[in-house]
Symmetry: C2
Subunit: 210 residues, 2 copies
Amino acid sequence: MERLTEVGKKISRAARPFGGSHFPDEDRWRPTVAKRLFPLSKVYGLLEPGPVVMVTTALKGKSNIMTMSWHMMMEFEPPTVGCVISNRNYSFEILKSTKECVINIPTVELAEKVVACGNTSGRGVDKFEAFGLTPVPASIVAAPLIDECYANLECRVMDAGLVAKYNFFILEVLKAWIDPTIKDPRTIHHRGRGAFIVAGETIKLPSKMK
Amino acid sequence: MERLTEVGKKISRAARPFGGSHFPDEDRWRPTVAKRLFPLSKVYGLLEPGPVVMVTTALKGKSNIMTMSWHMMMEFEPPTVGCVISNRNYSFEILKSTKECVINIPTVELAEKVVACGNTSGRGVDKFEAFGLTPVPASIVAAPLIDECYANLECRVMDAGLVAKYNFFILEVLKAWIDPTIKDPRTIHHRGRGAFIVAGETIKLPSKMK
């Protein structure tokens, strides 16, 4: 396949970055949708509502997924995200050494897989295979995008100064992808011990806030 | 009134911390509910779903309110919260000098007031008066609690090391209060430019995550 060659990889990533997968999975819950580039200036609106996200990392060709709720926006542009990843997590060391990850934002249809990823460690299991999720090459970072998530943010660590003290990473979002068919994503928001709020109705108010 | 004396203040704060208000307001939208202490070990479940919050501060007896969505949990116990408050905000200087604030968590009934607080600066207006919100003395910090919010977290700045670079404050939650009558709070979650998701249904999954 074209994308398996070095040149082809670059071409296909640019031309249709969501067109393929490392591990084609016949049981996928919905077909691949061609995602679109999403403006970096609007990324804050994806993350500041506090959705549970799935962070992917990769080391020496092996990818991992972890579930995360401790993240926040820190700057509009370039979109800057703070997050805490426990040093007990397998992803902690990978992120610390590779300085790259993808923040993948799931909707409620994926809730069981999100929890499954949170309940297991990548040390012993390939979570993409175990939970039927589809890794797709990112355009800039080595970590894969999770195809089933409605949005994916390619990130690079821009400040690791508070990692030692607080496990706190500051990430820059380099590139954002979105499924253009999902207008009101039913994101899930953790309230502790397996209880999640599902995003309900959307209201609009005349806010001057960005 | 007893709470206006120094001794009385301490007694009444301990005995019924939500029993009075600085500025009684006849137009209040719902009666005061006696709030209860909320275990610090469970505070993360209030903040990690990413609700819009209202931060109160006080300087020389004058209180202010600001609306905030850029916050995250950083540690379970003591509950540690990271937040970005722009140095253009009136609250920034107050928090920096007093090192105290209250994080107040509103539900959708307060959405218009939340946005109104976000659209105005405390430099020129007393937001409690202007928007009919009720300040109630906190038990530890000088900043008031907003009575109408279903939960209130008294906080102290524990690390200001990243304030200069990122306007990033790390807060310790010292005391938490909750309205025990609200089981599934319909919090609001900002998606940008005045669009908010309202917390919808709650789902439960067998998570090992705390």
